[in-house]
């Protein structure tokens, strides 16, 4: 057909062509329409919280001038490149459109839910829509204008509706911990192209926790589901795949070092990282001994690892995790009744 090349050209130049890489989404607690209906304005308009689209980096030594050891950073290690994105910068921007070892990625952070996630972005960029669902940042991609709640990592409106984003493991940890694991890390510079007071967090502080981040504080926006097993701002390690969602109590994980568990018909191994104080999750049956686990720049290494499938995991404020995943399994302490 003579129209085929023209059609192909048109398809290739439409915004959808440049949409981020998409795949099967992880489990969703509700239909996309439910999330769409629950969207609220967070106050600032679209791009009113500006993403950083031309990030600059500095050395760890230079970053020591303004970062305290206990300050939170979002760390990523990808294809031999280690980078840290200080929380005190991302609280003003929420998204950094970056390129790591030639791969276009977006590092995202939502202060209201305490969640940091990385995504492969393809040829497009992500921006802040100004909308919230369950207090969580709703991103949009600048090619198709589809909307994605960060925690859900799936489209709820637009051409990407019902499709999942490709995630990239990031770690929300302390600066000293990240630097210990990655001494040669690069650090996002405060030269962001925007004028902000990066020494002030409008919500409070993580070092030590106060204001909105304090464990006893309350959330600010309505949610689809409330669950009082933990205080609202208690941090859990959450992971989800197409089978279901699981929340792990970080104190219990630190105590046990390795947790073997079954949920939603699947076996999982959760390994505590004592330096970064995070968990690494693998799907599959394996008998992993904590003494056999060694930590490298890329994460844990242990016998039998190749037979397991890594599952992305991230810290989240409990209220937000429970709001998105009402059916979540909880591997908790006694206080959580799990």
């Amino acid at each position: 057909m003579r129209t085929t090349p023209i059609l192909a050209l048109l398809l290739a130049t439409t915004p959808a062509w440049a949409a981020p890489p998409l795949g099967e989404p992880a489990v969703m607690g509700a239909a996309p329409a439910t999330y769409r209906d629950a969207m609220l304005s967070g106050g600032p308009g679209k791009d009113g919280i500006p993403s950083i689209d031309a990030p600059r980096f500095q050395s760890a030594a230079a970053a020591d001038d303004y970062l305290e050891p206990g300050d939170r950073v979002i760390g990523v290690y990808h294809e031999g490149v280690a980078r840290a994105y200080p929380q005190r910068i991302l609280v003003w921007h929420e998204i950094v459109n970056d390129t790591l070892a030639g791969d276009p990625v977006s590092i995202t952070y939502c202060p209201l839910t305490g969640t940091a996630l990385g995504f492969h972005r393809g040829a497009t960029e992500f921006g802040v829509s100004g909308r919230l669902v369950n207090s969580n940042l709703v991103m949009y991609d600048r090619a198709s204008d589809s909307l994605y709640p960060q925690i859900l990592a799936a489209g709820i409106q637009g051409p990407s509706e019902g499709r999942g984003l490709e995630e990239l493991r990031v770690v929300f940890t302390e600066w000293a911990s990240w630097k210990q694991r990655h001494p040669d890390t690069e650090v996002l510079s405060t030269e962001t192209g925007h004028m902000r007071n990066y020494q002030r967090d409008p919500y409070g502080a993580y070092n030590p926790k106060r204001g909105y981040y304090a464990p006893g504080s309350r959330r600010m926006f309505p949610v689809l589901n409330e669950d009082e097993r933990y205080p609202a701002k208690h941090e859990v390690l959450g992971f989800r795949d197409r089978h279901g969602a699981v929340a792990v109590d970080l104190e219990r994980l630190a105590k046990e070092a390795v947790i073997h568990t079954s949920a939603n018909g699947q076996d999982y191994v959760v390994i505590h990282d004592p330096v970064l104080d995070t968990g690494w999750v693998y799907r599959g049956a394996a008998d992993v001994d904590a003494d056999d686990v060694a930590f490298t720049e890329a994460g844990p290494r242990f016998p039998g690892q190749d037979a397991l499938e890594p599952v992305n995991a991230f810290r989240a404020m409990w209220f937000a995790w429970a709001a998105f995943y009402p059916q979540t399994t909880v591997i908790g302490d006694d206080a959580a009744g799990a």
Binding site: G45, Q199, Y203
Partner: protein
């Protein structure tokens, strides 16, 4: 009338001070004015082309930064204009409300309700800058549902303050420059 003349400059001064403080509080609530943990001195120019970029309704990007001791000023020309306009209108309204409140006692005209009514938009203007901060402080989830409307408080305040000032003048409130002759 001559008995009250010496009080007018004092009232005008007080209204002007309140207006100035309000303008500063507005810039602080916006994040343009903030404090630094350690004293620093310096100035830096950003990207002037961003002066029209909006963060929200009538909220604009800063294009320069001034560090003056423990105070940091992120300079947005348009935010400064809005803050100055709100502060000036608030001062005019307070001065007008004071004059209208004082007048009936001396001349037997109108009622004290006129002055109180004139102050209502001024109170609303106070909410314009503090609403988002109150949301953070009170953390009432039901209130968060209305966060999208907070941005409208600033233009609404500007309109109401202008309308209220017009109404005050219509009721006989003196102009700022002629206040001492009222």
């Amino acid at each position: 009338m001559t008995r009250r003349a010496p009080e007018r400059p004092d009232a005008r001064l007080a209204a002007g001070a309140v207006g100035l403080v309000y303008a500063l509080v507005y810039l602080y609530a916006l994040g343009d004015l903030s404090t630094l943990p350690e004293a620093a001195w310096g100035a830096r120019m950003g990207e002037p082309a961003r002066w029209l970029d909006q963060r929200g309704l009538l909220q604009f990007e800063a294009i320069a930064m001034l560090e003056a001791g423990r105070v940091l000023w992120l300079i947005s020309p348009l935010n400064t204009v809005v803050a100055a306009a709100l502060g000036a209108l608030l001062a005019l309204n307070l001065d007008g409300a004071w004059a209208l409140w004082r007048r009936p006692a001396a001349c037997g005209l109108g009622g004290t309700g006129s002055g109180v009514l004139a102050a209502v938009p001024a109170l609303l203007a106070g909410g314009a800058c503090c609403a988002p901060s109150l949301l953070l402080l009170l953390a009432i989830p039901g209130l968060g549902a209305f966060a999208g409307l907070f941005g409208w408080l600033v233009p609404l305040s500007l309109v109401l303050l202008v309308a209220s000032r017009w109404w005050q003048r219509h009721q006989g409130a003196p102009g700022w420059a002629r206040a001492g002759l009222a």
